[in-house]
Amino acid sequence: MSLLSVRDLSVSFRGPGGWVPVTDRVSFDVEAGTTVGLVGESGSGKTVTALSAMGLTRAQGARVTGQVLFDGEDLSTLSQRELSTRRGATISMIFQQAIRTLDPAFTVGEQIAESVRRHEKVPRKEAWRRAVAMLDRVHIPRAAERAKEYPHTFSGGMSQRAMIAMALACSPKLVFADEPTTALDVTVQARILDLLREIQRDTGIAVVFISHDLGVIAELAQQVVVMYAGQVVERASVEELFLHPRHPYTAGLLNAIPAVGRGRRLVSIPGNVPAPGSMPTGCRFHPRCPHEVPGRCDVGPLDLEDDVRCLRSGELTLLGIPTPTGVPS
């Protein structure tokens, strides 16, 4: 049994003219100790899926259907009260802008200690000791002193480390990491990715890593779920996905990555992600797809079949990265 199994998760938000569907029957599994990359452009529904899996969109009045099975328990049937005991303790989240997620009015140590005490009955002193240990664990130098400082004294990379320390303080089994390195310098990003790999190796935590950048996904994930316009369009192992993408959108994302040795002129995906409430009929990607066939791709509902949502996937040969022998070292 998978640690996390998201089944047909659909989320709608209330708009001026009624309910607006934002995600459509999103399904994927996460095995214990592994990393699943959730990839897609802004507006594809990645974050909403993660927030909904944790029960956070329901709290904001969204209409959520489907199941979220975590460790055999259906989180979607739990009350907010029950959910809040799970969040942080068994399932946790790291956000993109750590500096805005930390409370500027409390020291970093206090915030981590508080999240420990929220889930475990430990004395204040013990919680503080745990907070310092966690900061040390994420390689913040002079952790005992830095714990007494306020978030504004932390650099971008350091506050992301502090966020990770907070998310992991109660040893959750799974963490959603929502673009945790997008706002950071490339060099700092590389170190945060190293840290996540190291923690996963040591603790066996499962990670759902959300990113718009397949280059970053390649650094961490074993399985990849590609989302477009609120739907899953492809699911595959990271190797399969990079070598033999089956959906034109996946191929487009791969080709858009500037990579050393590729040289000038990137292949971009023309156009924009459609807005919720104005989704194209048929394949939602067809208006941007170079392989679109009028009369075929723009009609009828299109389901995920054999882990890909494209009528033409069987007849297309899409370009992935070169096969391993040709991979530059």
Partner: protein, 295 residues
């Protein structure tokens, strides 16, 4: 003659006040920076946050005043100009910023933001302005209905295109682009970089492209300057920087580029030899050199 010649550029900020409020210690944000940019080329300025890249860009346009050094633009000593002359020269030196959501006025329709410089500098009528703006929007590839819409209604990519259109209104020679695609999705990033390459061909633009991400440099630039803690540590053609980087710092920037190859498929994984592996290795203000200046 080079379009842009920068020599001995210095910017210091006081960090400690001494007796009677006189600055005792300075943080040197830009330290003796010198380079040239030729007409029609793209020069990348690369480095981590705090390296002084953005400050260098702003010093060139005199958006902040240098403490020392010269900036010559098309033969004109930029530092010697009075304000009216500087304003006039700045028409030919435009800037694009990282975050298009904050660089365009949220209370103005995008069309007005783009056309505002035409009003300010040339006193063009609203009709003429909107016509010219529509032409520019065609050039940067966004539809005309954007003219009447507000920034909040547009995507990041559309806004950055609008910001580029605004920079083009003045028919500039030089565009200083400060992390212009850092806030954009990878797919949209490719669109905007391709657009910048096209515009350069069409209008013979010179770009100063500021970024922390060396992977973009190979796509857009001809030459690159690598900066660290306010100083230039290495400069050369893009080929030289990528194929035979001389400095360890440059190698560490190269090593940090995520490679779009799953770990299990990599033939030579792991860090590049000779690169520092300090577990955090981040730049802190307190570790940056602070020059003590004697009273």
């Amino acid at each position: 003659m080079s379009l842009l010649e920068v020599e001995g550029l210095v910017k210091r900020y006081p960090v400690r006040q001494g007796f009677l409020g006189r600055a005792k210690e300075y943080f040197t944000a830009v330290d003796d920076v010198a380079f040239t940019a030729e007409r029609g080329e793209t020069l990348a300025i690369v480095g981590e946050s705090g390296a002084g890249k953005s400050t260098t860009g702003r010093l060139i346009l005199r958006l902040i005043e240098p403490d020392a050094g010269t900036v010559r633009f098309d033969g004109v000593d930029v530092r010697a100009l009075d304000q009216p002359a500087l304003r006039k020269l700045r028409l030919r030196m435009q800037m694009i910023f990282q975050d298009p959501y904050s660089s365009l006025d949220p209370h103005l329709p995008v069309g007005d933001s783009v056309s505002e410089p035409l009003h300010v500098h040339f006193g063009m009528s609203r009709g003429d302005r909107l016509r010219r703006t529509a032409e520019l929007l065609d050039i940067v590839g966004i539809s005309h209905d954007v003219l009447e819409r507000y920034p909040a209604e547009l995507s990041g990519g559309q806004l950055q295109r609008a910001a580029i259109a605004r920079a083009l209104t003045m028919k500039p020679d030089l565009i200083v682009a400060d992390e212009p695609v850092a806030a954009l999705d990878v797919s949209v990033r490719a669109q905007v970089l391709n657009l910048m390459l096209d515009l350069q061909q069409e209008f013979g633009l010179t770009y100063l492209f500021i970024t922390h991400d060396l992977s973009l440099v190979e796509v857009i630039a001809d030459r690159a300057i690598v900066m660290s803690t306010g100083r230039i540590v290495e400069q050369g053609t893009v080929k030289e920087i990528f194929e035979s980087p001389r400095e360890e710092y440059t190698r560490s920037l190269l090593a940090a580029i995520p490679r779009p190859v799953p770990l299990s498929l990599r033939t030579a994984p792991g860090p590049v030899p000779g690169v520092a592996t300090d577990p955090t290795g981040e730049l802190h203000l307190d570790s940056v050199h602070v020059d003590a200046v004697k009273d």
